[in-house]
């Protein structure tokens, strides 16, 4: 998957977790915690959605990499580059 596809995948997960949220104004380099007020249970869900959808494992030590959309894409790019778009 390309970085653009990975970003789309992340937005799809966020939309799934917070279905009432308007994500069109999301800023890619501002922490999700601030913009969407996500808490630890939500970050856990992002990790679990990645596992469920793409079989990607994110170790707990790496959760900090999921802070923003950009950091998440950068972190996932090497892990997901060989995957086909779902």
């Amino acid at each position: 998957m390309s970085p653009a596809e990975i970003k789309a995948a992340i937005l799809d997960i966020l939309e799934n977790i917070a279905p009432d949220e308007d994500l069109s104004g999301l800023v890619d380099d501002v922490p999700l915690r601030e913009q969407l007020e996500l808490d630890s249970m939500d970050f856990l869900d992002i990790v679990m959605e990645l596992r469920k959808r793409y079989r990607v494992q994110v170790p707990e030590d790496d959760y900090v990499e999921l802070a923003t959309v950009n950091s998440t894409v950068n972190y996932l790019a090497p892990l997901m580059k060989d995957l086909q778009k779902a």
């Binding site: 007020e37 808490d39 856990l44």
Partner: protein
């Protein structure tokens, strides 16, 4: 390999919420429910062509659409629901009515605050200190969990009347122990009732239950009604097999029980050396159907918590019912887009399970009649007299509650001993719901979610559970 990754006992809101989490993450999950209806403590039924709700007077922990923080927002995200799926409509306004004093409150804390300031001017600063402690509970007072709320609150509030008035709604909506509760629970409930507030779907609890059941089934979960659990076979510290009332059995790798802590332990072939105490506090509730809008009769409050004695007593009554205090709920008095079809007034009071249990069939029916009349006579001292407009009614008692919830003694809020961890003496058996320590319908759903996250979502859930556990302290 077992047929299921997890078997859930009980299709109440906690079991259904746990089931949704597990099914969503592709676990093979089956919910076993003894009755033909889902909901357990919070359910509904039809009688004489009408819908009646049991349990739920109001959903606490209300938050308007768009709220990011708090228990309701967290719950919706965890279950992937839209805010409108629960269609919560806020209350109009409630009151706590004690001899000579009435404190009104609604979903804006400012009203309750100003009412306390007005009614108890000497306690103004003390009340502010209490409110600050309750808001900051997670950080500064986490160590106060397990402490008596009466002793902690008593450090700030000096007037025993105000203490009783604050405790009254909290105990009626979640007090499993006589006289007192844990300060952690007090803080959570104070916020859920006075700061977040009360709401109800127009269609009542069925709105929530039907959404939960539909989602669970859509995700591939299996819901088995009329599948009561008779006992659990145990081998080497694990549940190996669940025997149903009809003699058949089900096998699963793990079991999550919402049947109650004591009740779950009694189902096990091997019980632990120390079984916790069953709860003692049960209710009688009457539902009166009116041929008028309660507001048009002058019943304009959503909920009135009343007490007519010098001291508010939260204990098992000596008589069949203690009518000195109670709760009057008008489900009509929420901010709906359209009125309910009929007027409804529900009146709830503490009742003695053993007393009701010992009655013969004829005595039981007569007692229901007698105590309905006494409860309503008491209620109309605090709200307008709606009796001439009653066209139908139903009353349920502690034995009804025992029948539908399975809780020993018909104890609505379960055992006074809560099990926050959700673990038991068996390594693959966990509990959720009332006895895990979160109360209210939102609390119960969160209990199911957190226990599923912590114990049942597989290998990574173990570490994930720590994250989730840290999160839930904020609830």
């Amino acid at each position: 390999m077992s047929a299921y990754d997890t078997i859930i006992i009980g299709a109440g809101v906690s079991g259904l919420a746990a089931g949704i989490r597990l099914a969503y993450y592709e676990k093979r999950v089956c919910i076993l429910e003894r009755h033909t209806m889902i909901g357990g403590l919070n359910s509904f039924y039809r009688l004489g062509g009408r819908n009646y709700d049991v349990g739920l007077h109001a959903v606490t922990n209300y938050a308007p659409k768009g709220t990011h923080k708090g228990p309701l927002a967290r719950l919706l995200r965890q279950l992937r629901f839209h805010w409108e799926d629960f269609a919560l409509r806020p209350q109009i306004g409630s009151a706590i009515a004690f001899p000579g004093v009435c404190l009104r409150f609604n979903n804006q804390f400012e009203l309750f605050r100003s009412e306390v300031h007005r009614g108890f001017p000497a306690e103004k600063d003390h009340f502010e200190n209490l409110a600050a402690a309750v808001v900051g509970y997670d950080d500064a007072y986490a160590g106060a969990a397990g402490q008596s709320a009466r002793s902690v609150v008593g450090r700030w509030i000096k007037d025993p009347l105000l203490v009783d008035m604050i405790f009254c709604p909290l105990l009626f909506y979640g007090g499993a122990r006589e006289h007192d509760m844990d300060f952690g629970q007090f803080s959570i409930m104070f916020r859920s009732i006075f700061m977040e507030g009360l709401a109800r779907p127009w269609a009542g609890v069925r709105q929530i239950l039907k959404n939960l059941a539909r989602r669970f089934k859509q995700l591939g979960g299996e819901l088995r009604l009329r599948a009561g659990v008779r006992r659990m076979e145990v081998d080497r510290g694990r549940v190996t097999r669940i025997i149903l009332d009809d003699g058949t059995y089900v096998e699963g790798d793990r079991v999550l029980s919402s049947a109650g802590l004591v009740e779950t332990m009694r189902l096990c072939e091997e019980t632990p050396t120390r079984v916790p105490a069953a709860g003692q506090l049960s209710f009688i509730e009457s539902v009166s159907i009116l041929d008028a809008e309660p507001r048009d009769l002058g019943c304009d409050r959503t909920i009135v918590f009343f007490n007519d004695s010098d001291k508010f007593r939260w204990q098992k009554p000596e008589q069949l019912v203690d009518v000195r205090s109670g709760v009057i709920c008008c489900p009509n008095n929420f901010q709906y887009d359209q009125p309910l079809d009929e007027g409804v007034v529900r009146v709830t009071a503490l009742a003695n399970y053993d007393g009701w249990k010992s009655l013969s069939r004829d005595e039981y029916l007569a007692a229901k009649q007698t105590w309905y009349d006494r409860m309503i006579a008491q209620a109309v001292r605090f709200v307008a007299d709606f009796r001439p407009r009653v066209i139908a009614r139903d009353t349920f008692t502690p034995t009804t509650i025992k029948h539908y919830t399975g809780h020993e003694n018909g104890a609505v809020y379960g055992s006074p001993d809560k099990r926050k961890s959700g673990t038991t003496h068996l390594s693959n058996l966990f509990i959720c719901g009332t006895d895990q320590g979160l109360v209210g319908i939102i609390g119960a759903m969160l209990s199911g979610i957190v226990m599923a996250n912590r114990h049942l979502l597989g290998t990574r859930a173990d570490e994930a559970g720590e994250v989730a556990a840290a999160g839930v302290v904020e609830v």
